[in-house]
């Protein structure tokens, strides 16, 4: 079992009137950055980095970051900058990027270089995920959504080649062309860092991940549709002639632990407060319907069972209350004693080899997050490891998703051969 920590790093400014427990709702892509306070931003960036350092100290295997653009709900517009810092100030945990938004890069050689540097500086701790991005990413970086999927696939192929084959070589593709590919940096891990694919909506993506034998991480979706979507991966794996296992699957959802049941509930309610986020069930901002329907961004037909409860179709109308989310396990909160059996339920239901606890988000404070991290380290993580062992849930760092073969203890040596 691989256990990661995630927060979306919201921009919280109680003074603005927009953010915080009683904030005004936000319409997607309609809030001017003239209200942005860089002093506050500075504090928040440092807070979120401190929390990651503490998460490592408390025993998390992975420190997960993500990236969105032109929006207050995620401060990681240049996620690789945060990852670079973590590469230097942490020692053991993997730095899990879920992920870089491939189609918005006009020059993916920058990614080849940046990520190889992060992998070297961290001594081989990079896990490199790719995403296709939401509409706001395409709009912010002016990348044509109708070519999103083509650019995703071509950029992936290009990056993997640039990481794993000696240069110089030429790349003459449809969307990317280079006459001299010979970056003066190579990834620490051979042949390259483990790749992951997080997602929620696209059937094309999960089928592609299964064909590439890349672990697929489902992001904050309800359990039954998630299981059905994982089945698409299983079915594709069968067609490809292999048996997918827990190493091929990951799941991210909201988990908060606290000292008492009362405090846990009070704080967990902050998941649905704070910066309005079209992604965040229970506290969606006003979605921009055109942004959700950018031409060609995802196939209008080839969508997953999770799509109807996920971002692309949420649009505020499928909002689920805090209570509903607690009811269906998409928010788990409580003391370690009550949280652990609920996590067991999720693990039994989905059988993921990687999990990411989404915490410290919405209107939660630094103290809220630190208490939860401490209790996770002291009680929850050890218990989850035991449950995972009992259920034989192996991570992609224990069993290779590429071969299905065990790869031994989690160690630098092992990690160095798990690149897919």
């Amino acid at each position: 079992m691989f256990i990661g920590h995630f927060t979306e790093r919201p921009y919280q400014d109680p003074e603005s009137g927009y953010f915080g427990a009683t904030g005004l709702p936000i319409k997607d892509l309609s809030l001017s950055n003239e209200i942005y306070d860089p002093i506050l931003g500075s504090d928040l960036y440092n807070r979120y980095l401190d929390e990651k350092v503490y998460a490592e100290e408390m025993g998390f295997d992975g420190l997960m970051l993500n990236e969105h653009h032109s929006t207050p709900f995620c401060m990681g517009g240049a996620m690789n900058v945060e990852a670079s810092i973590l590469a230097r100030i942490t020692k053991r945990a993997k730095i899990v990027l879920l992920g870089n938004i491939l189609p918005i890069w006009d020059d993916p050689l920058w990614l080849v270089e940046q990520l190889a540097m992060i992998d070297m500086i961290s001594k081989g701790r990079l896990v490199s995920g790719w995403v296709r991005g939401t509409g706001r990413e395409s709009v912010s970086h002016n990348a044509p959504p109708a070519y999103n999927w083509e650019r995703f696939q071509e950029a992936h192929d290009f990056i993997v080649k640039a990481w794993s084959e000696p240069g110089p070589f030429r790349w003459e593709g449809k969307h990317y062309q280079y006459r001299y590919v010979n970056p003066w940096m190579r990834p620490y891990q051979k042949p390259h860092p483990q790749i992951m694919l997080p997602g929620v909506v696209s059937r094309d993506s999960i089928v592609w991940a299964a064909k590439q034998r890349i672990p697929y991480i489902m992001l904050a979706t309800q359990l039954e549709p998630t299981r059905q979507s994982f089945q698409v991966y299983h079915d594709t794996a069968k067609e490809e002639g292999y048996e997918a296992g827990s190493q091929n699957f990951g799941y991210l959802w909201k988990v908060h632990v606290d000292e008492t049941e009362e405090l846990a509930e009070e704080v967990a309610r902050k998941f649905v407060q704070g910066p309005s986020n079209p992604f965040l069930a229970g506290n969606e901002g006003t979605a921009n319907p055109a942004l959700l329907k950018l031409p060609g961004l995802t196939s209008r037909r080839r969508i997953l069972p999770t799509a109807n409860v996920a971002t692309a179709h949420r649009g505020g109308q499928l909002s689920r209350s805090f209570e509903e989310q607690v009811e269906d396990y998409t928010i788990i909160s409580g003391t370690p004693k009550t949280v652990i059996p609920k996590i067991r339920h999720v693990l039994e239901y989905l059988r993921p080899g990687s999990v990411f606890f989404w915490d410290g988000d919405g209107a939660m404070t630094h103290d809220d997050q630190m208490r939860s991290l401490r209790l996770m380290g002291e009680e929850v993580i050890p218990a989850v490891r035991e449950i995972a062992d009992e259920l034989e849930l192996r991570s992609p760092f224990e069993v290779s998703p590429k071969t299905g073969e065990p790869i031994g203890e989690i160690s630098e040596e092992a990690a160095s051969v798990t690149g897919d």
Binding site: N142, P144, A146, A290, K293, L294, P295, R300
Partner: protein, 285 residues
């Protein structure tokens, strides 16, 4: 000559695809042209007039089609990738599409034709004409995209849903008889799908720079011997009228007509006034 006869002569019509649409004066067919299969509508007899639709695809058979087909042979294709026409993978900019169209016109054995292009289709018409001015007899550009206005910005169709865009395109939808045809209150699932198909294809061709070419303006001088009419609605909120000024100044000898109380779709908003203007221009020597 009937379209189907021309097509049969040329061996380009798949006869089983020829559709006779009831109570309409046009014929619809599926044609093999320049290596692709496209949806074509034809009507009338006389000198050929090619009608190039805009960014949301063929709008349906409208009054202006009917009137313009009275004494000429009208060709109204759906561009590759729009409506029922097959998409073409290598086509990534409007100039690619323009080159394909010239080959398609060769396949149809059409020469010295008149062409009228609307909005995105106006940009396409200008690109085709610049590439081969001798192919055309007269050129009509109706609020064409394709050049960067110095004042104002071209409306972003991709950050707005199709019905919102259409409402913005029409100056006064209450006095526009055909508005409900192009933008019904409750569009059918088929219509919604065709809009999305069109938006996706327009996105492939015009996302960046957004709906203009940096070089077209400098090539428009090639149209010095091609009689060109530019038509603009004074209240156009989609393509700023300053783009009309640039077209007009860049094409020697061109004329420009600015229509009062009309937005981006003069052919829909005031079809009688519009077709009179066009008929007069095309009819003159």
């Amino acid at each position: 000559m009937e379209t189907s006869r021309i097509a049969e002569t040329l061996g380009i019509l798949k006869s089983e695809d020829a559709l006779a649409v009831s109570e309409a004066s046009f014929k619809e067919s599926s044609l093999e042209l320049a290596g692709s299969t496209i949806q074509m509508r034809t009507a009338g007899e006389g000198k050929p007039l090619l009608v190039l639709h805009g960014e949301l695809g063929f709008p349906g058979w409208m009054n202006y089609h009917e009137t313009l087909a009275v004494d000429r042979k009208l060709y109204a294709p759906s561009h590759p990738g729009y409506d029922q026409s097959d998409g073409i993978d290598w086509m990534m900019q409007v100039r690619d599409l323009a080159g394909w169209y010239l080959e398609a016109l060769d396949d149809m054995d059409l020469k010295e034709i008149d062409v009228i292009g609307f909005s995105f289709g106006g940009w396409l018409a200008a690109e085709m004409a610049v590439m081969d001015p001798t192919k055309f007899r007269k050129l009509v550009l109706v609020a064409p995209m394709g050049v960067k206005p110095e004042e104002g910005e071209i409306y972003d169709i991709f950050l707005n849903l199709a019905p919102d865009y259409l409402k913005e395109a029409i100056h006064d939808s209450n006095s526009c008889d055909e508005f409900d045809l192009i933008c019904p209150d409750e569009p059918s699932p088929e219509m919604l799908e065709l809009w999305e198909v069109a938006r996706e294809q327009s996105c492939k061709l015009g996302w960046k720079p957004y709906m203009y070419s940096l070089s077209l303006k400098h090539l428009l001088h090639r149209l010095k011997n091609l009689e060109t009419l530019i038509v603009w609605g004074k209240e156009d909120k989609i393509v700023p009228i300053d783009a009309g000024r640039i077209y007009h100044e860049s094409i020697p000898g061109s004329s420009i007509e600015v229509m009062e109380n009309i937005g981006h779709r003069p052919e829909i908003e005031k079809p009688n006034e519009f077709t009179k203007l066009i008929t007069k221009f095309l009819g003159s020597k």
